[in-house]
Amino acid sequence: MTQQATPDRTLPLPGDTLVGLYRTMALIRAFEERVHELFTEGELPGFLHLCSGQEAVAAGVIAQLERADMITSTHRNHGHALAKGVDPRAMMIELYGRAGGSNSGKGGSMHLADPAVGHLASGGIVGASAPLALGPAQAAKLAGTGAVAVAFFGDGGAQQGTVLEAMNLAAVWKLPVVFVCENNLFGQATTVDYASAAAPYARAEGFGLPAERVDGQDVVAVYEAAGRAVERARAGDGPSYLECLTYSYHGAWEGEPKRSYRRPEVESDFRRRDPLRLLDDVLTAALPDWLDIKDRVDDEAAEQVDGAVEAGRAAPYPDPSTVLTGVYADPNVVIDRDGLAVR
């Protein structure tokens, strides 16, 4: 199998690890680009925050996790979900707002999650991911499972009080959790240099968390730094903080009216250092059969996304009466339109 490419001394990581990272990134890129097209054409509804350009963070961090390790994510979560193993078909059906989607049509883009594969929650409240991640970490510690939890949040989210106090609580309880700040330079149109008086990772150290800033375009660097943090967590040495510098090609949200606050020079710098391209360069130089592998991996990604889109298009609309279901897990409580429980 191509994944088991023979290790090469010039490779920074084993070849199959690198190919795996590329595969994840290729899937995320293909998924996001297709979503962008479908939204632009008016086919997909939603309030969408894409992560094209940021693939190395999701892929690099999550490659260090097991299925039992939990993540929590943000409004910009498609990449995290795909990397953690949420089914792209179920995700796309959800984005189409059809029946059978990952969230039964109740969640949409900002709320994609699947606890069954270790994706606890995403959501539209900036900063909420950090407190939530403490829970599975606490559970893992108490049960001694060795599992870890990862909270993703943005450079904007790093300013939110909930994230800051979660860092302290994680340190107080010495929890196996990794805080991953995806610093894509902006929170909407506000730059991180304005919004954060000190670099987010520098601040984590003041809370007693080992902290690192890495090049978030370089999946190998992200993977290695995440490995150190995850290892610390698994070894019982408590929480860490990882800041990854990256960039969102599609801006803050799909349909954003004015993007002129983004300097073209900055964007093209990042595009030159595109995460897929950087890894492609590494693999091209080092794996003799890389071009073949790459074609296959790219094709597979495209096929997966094609299949997901087909599934989304083919899925039926949800029954409007299902608005009322799922408010409570308790099967004895059913909601009628006035909010009354009917048994």
Partner: protein, 342 residues
């Protein structure tokens, strides 16, 4: 049956459920009462401001009775997340007045995660304990009963016990529930003693209790207002009016059926609530009864609540703020077209 205080009844429920289910945790500020101090682990820990969790750390250890920094968003979030990993955390917010620093975790995370993640998603089995109630001369930020604003949000269960027996049974039910439960304790009730069943039978969440039978008027009460209504009912009985008192026990979901059944018979409704009146549980009940049992009502429904103001500090003002039996009597008489004789 034994006699326990309201506070001890909650303590017993916690102890029973922690014994029965090793996944039950207790977290919050000071819940171990100083037991985080090296050398103090098993000593004289009090357990929260009113000692409701006292003794638990000695019995279940610091791994299961866990103090927190004053970081309510962080530790409530942790409770929600731990639920996803199989634990059931009873976490304490101390006073409900503090909800403003962590409400997002309650209303958008705990309450909505189940719905937003779709029909196959697991529930969020956590219990958030918080104190409510005026009368302790604490002023406007540690005396409020603003559960109405939380009961407004879909996805939460909101429990308001009025007796030690219900405090125990509802806590047991809350811990076993698959959904997030806000468990509210009126601090003026903590010392109230009453009969409490042995064993660990839950009191079902979402069922009101007819606390007094009567055919002339339906008085619906929430938490501590039960005793205010009971005093009023005695006085009314002397005037020949027999009040039926319904203690809602749970404000979300609300047991409207029991209320409507009573109003069907009495034709008159008075709701007594310690929360402020606008957009409240009291106005909710009045609205539901008015729209669903309009033809059975023989008089305008009434609410007896505090004024729509913050809780004042001065004893003279605070005493005027809290609904009194006299006000309930007056409201009931008004539904009968009568006035209190001077």
């Amino acid at each position: 049956m034994k006699t326990l205080s309201f506070a001890d009844a909650i303590n017993e429920a916690l102890r029973l459920e922690m014994t029965r289910d090793p996944r039950v945790l207790v977290t919050g500020e000071d819940v171990s009462g100083g037991a985080t101090i090296p050398g103090f682990e098993r000593a004289d820990a009090w357990g929260g401001v009113f000692g409701v969790t006292r003794g638990l750390v000695a019995e279940f250890g610091r791994d299961r009775v866990i103090d927190t920094p004053i970081s309510e968003s962080a530790f409530i979030g942790a409770a929600i997340g731990a639920a996803a990993a199989g634990y059931r955390t009873v976490t304490e917010l101390q006073f409900l007045d503090f909800m403003g620093v962590c409400l997002d975790q309650i209303i958008n995370q705990a309450a909505k995660l189940r719905y937003a993640r779709g029909d196959r998603a697991p529930g969020v089995p956590i219990v958030i304990r918080a104190m409510i109630g005026a009368g302790s001369r604490a002023g406007s930020t540690q005396s409020q009963s603003h559960y109405s604003s939380v009961a407004h949000f879909p996805g939460l269960k909101v429990v308001v016990p009025a007796t030690p027996a219900d405090a125990k049974g509802l806590m047991i039910a809350a811990i076993r529930d698959e959904d997030p439960v806000l468990f509210l304790e009126n601090k003026a009730l903590y010392e109230t003693k009453g009969p409490v069943p042995d064993g660990d039978e839950p009191v079902p969440i979402g069922r009101a209790r007819v606390a007094r039978e009567g055919g002339d008027v339906t008085i619906v009460t929430i938490a501590r207002m039960l005793s205010v209504a009971e005093k009023a009912a005695k006085e009314l009985s002397e005037r020949g009016i027999e009040a039926e008192i319904i203690d809602v026990r749970t404000v979300a979901p609300l047991d409207l059926t029991t209320i409507l059944e009573s109003v069907e018979r009495t034709g008159r409704l008075v709701v007594v609530d310690e929360d402020t009146p606008r957009c409240s549980v009291a106005s909710d009940i009045v609205a539901l009864v008015s729209s669903r049992a309009f033809d059975r009502l023989t008089a305008a429904p009434r609410m007896v609540t505090p004024p729509h103001t913050p809780v004042p500090f001065a004893p003279v003002l605070e005493d005027a703020y809290i609904p009194s039996p006299e006000q309930v009597v007056e409201a009931v008489l008004a539904t009968a077209g009568q006035e209190v004789a001077a």
